[in-house]
Symmetry: C2
Subunit: 99 residues, 2 copies
């Protein structure tokens, strides 16, 4: 079962992400990051790779794309805030952006 | 060369789109439409088909996706407003959403 992050798990899961460009969203229990790619092909190619994992894990981002920029917001609607799934998808997004 | 839509061409190109769910964006010379699909696979699948045309025509949308919803904004940054390319891409998006 997916559960909202507890006070104990929050730091260990989120702090490494904050060191990698993720930030909290004002007024929401959510995290956000803006990725910059070389061009549209790289940006949308990355989104496509992420999309497969999002669908596989049944956990989908809120995201917007303008040419080579992709802005992502992650939260878990079912629990009304951040869960471990958000940290998992965030790490996957970062790793797919590095390759 | 891409040019900003003239007063004469604006109506004939945009009015058919306004009849298909497109609307102007407040404060910008741009058009917007929100598409609803069956699920994420349908939504992102449609985005992928659109992405190929956008890249082929070197004319890219501003768009955001949350699960089965995709919100699109079209404008032509090079001319500082709407051009015939926006109408062309809008028609392509509608036709790809129907199939």
């Amino acid at each position: 079962m997916t559960e909202k992050l507890s006070e104990e798990t929050r730091g260990p899961l989120l702090n490494p992400l904050f060191s990698c460009g993720w930030a909290t969203v004002e007024g929401r229990d959510a995290i956000t990051k803006t990725y910059q790619f070389e061009d549209f092909i790289e940006a949308f190619g990355w989104m496509t790779r992420v999309a497969f994992w999002a669908e596989k894990w049944n956990h989908h981002p809120e995201w917007s794309n303008v040419y080579k920029t992709v802005e992502v917001v992650l939260t878990t609607h079912d629990v009304g805030g951040l869960s471990s799934l958000d940290a998992k998808l965030a790490r996957k997004m970062d790793s797919l952006a590095e390759t």
